[in-house]
Symmetry: C2
Subunit: 318 residues, 2 copies
């Protein structure tokens, strides 16, 4: 049976799985990325996890290769460069080093771009030639498909939209120090920051008057909105408005048929998407109105990142 190894390297966890050609993840495991500050030790851990996964299958798989999704990865150079949420600093030649330990066809890509490739092969992008995947987690990521191809960029760093300048009023800084950057507003972290801002701006009573920033969790904000908490509702409305403006601007770029949303913040469901869809249609130029869909990922949440990474290899086998 032909299988591909999919690896998603995240700031918190590294997830590994074996994925078949339909995008099913047959078996998976994960470990904490930060327990391996030494790159060589990390790669040894990856290899041993892969060996365990392959060995535990009740069949002799034919491994076609290994796809890797990671933040700040350059597909063209096989590197991870200056990733804010990883411990390895500077330019990390990850592909070259891992190939030494596991010689096989291997590709690495920005995690959001890998997610876009996953949607293209296995998810809601299957019948679309032009779409944009937006990942709303700790940060804001984007994977762009146009003309039926993933847009890589000259140097493999296309789609770094979390740091584009939205120049909104007070101009919050992103993790890279960009004032007014998009992900300072539109991400799980951005929503938390907006709760703080709304507590500063309004005097409404709110359950969040008794909660510290560090205690604040995304699920609690959704729950508060369900209970009609005015601060939570204002925060979702504001987040949706900024996001709608950004997506309307992105539409003018490649004119996608759809935006496909994934990541933790999308679990807020209608509290985000209802105002988002309203504002989005308002912001769109007339020529685009009614033509651009906003949809949720078509991939199962827990293995989407693994399957996206595996898609890097499956792409050339179909």
């Amino acid at each position: 049976m032909d299988l591909v190894i999919g690896i998603d390297i995240g700031g918190t966890k590294t997830k590994i799985g074996l994925v078949d050609k339909e995008g099913n993840c047959l078996i998976k495991s994960n470990f904490r990325t930060r327990e391996y500050p030494d790159l060589d030790a990390f790669l040894d851990k990856v290899k041993s996890e892969v060996d365990v996964l392959v060995g535990s299958l009740n069949l002799a798989p034919n491994i076609l290769g290994c796809g890797i999704g990671a933040p700040n990865a350059s597909s063209k150079r096989g590197t991870i460069e200056n990733a804010a949420n990883l411990l390895w600093k500077g330019t990390v030649p990850l592909l070259e080093k891992l190939k030494e330990k596991m010689p096989m066809p291997m590709r690495i890509m920005n995690d959001a771009s890998a997610a876009a490739l996953g949607e293209m092969l296995f998810g809601n992008g299957r019948n679309m030639t032009d779409f944009i995947v937006v990942t709303l987690g700790t940060g804001f990521g984007a994977g762009i498909v146009a003309n039926g191809q993933l847009i890589d960029g000259y140097d493999g760093f296309a789609g770094e939209l979390g740091h584009i300048d939205m120049t909104i009023g007070d101009g919050r800084l992103t993790g890279l120090g960009v004032p007014g950057g998009l992900e300072a507003y539109v991400s799980a972290t951005g929503l938390k920051r907006t709760i703080m801002f709304m507590l500063s701006k309004y005097l409404d009573d709110s359950r969040f008057r008794d909660v510290s920033y560090n205690q604040l969790h995304g699920e609690d904000i959704t729950k508060a909105a369900e209970e009609g908490d005015p601060i939570a509702l204002k925060a979702f409305d504001f987040t949706a408005r900024v996001m709608a403006q950004a997506l309307a601007n992105f539409t003018a770029f490649t004119q996608p048929e759809a935006f496909i949303l994934m990541g933790g913040l999308t679990q807020s469901g209608k509290w985000l998407t209802d105002p988002l869809e309203k504002y989005f249609e308002e912001f769109l130029l007339d020529v685009y109105k009614g033509k651009v869909k906003i949809m949720r990922s078509g991939m199962r949440g827990k293995t989407a990142a693994i399957c996206g990474a595996a898609a890097l290899i499956w792409e050339s086998h179909r």
Copy 2:
């Protein structure tokens, strides 16, 4: 000799020429677009101009087809839709109608996208797979090439970047009523508006204190900058700064190797490009710094639009 008809339909002039496979425009003519408010009469005029051009050549050309560049053109539907600067309103099925009069292979495209195809085949884009052409005329247009292909969009309307929302302070309206839209700042018209703004903001002496908005011409602003006029210098600096911010944001989208500038505003030369390059490097994310060039068009100014249109047909003959 194989030749292609290139037609550039502009708000002011319609230009027609015959273009060889090297991108040389052998012969050309033009007429005023607005003298033909009736579409049918316009198309008859186009056909008669083409017949005159073909007849005046000292050889029997083999016409491969006809490429057309026009504002608000949808490549996928062959239409011009709601073009602010043309007299034909609503959705104009231009390709279908012109084909009835001149049966031959024919394509139409947004003028800035046609310009990008022209640069790809004949100009400075010849050795690049990822670049963006920016046209700075009455408005702001963009043609995007990524992965060696022109980005068309789901519906043929990619690259309408003149109306993305820059949300700057006072939020000038574009011709489509978008507040804070890019081309309200960065275009020949935008520069004129900025002169007015600087006259309102500062009390510096300036030659423009005696000039009305309607009397104000782009060349005069360049001349004033050369003479050290403080209002002109402030206006160029402001325009360059807004443009730099926009180009830095665009870089995060497709990560082009270069931006290629063309159009009337580029004739301001260093008064625009010197501050533009300075601010652009400042605004770029670290991961892009030093990697993105800003260059002038590689095509001869007067026939660039015609050759860009002809590139729509030449593209499939190479």
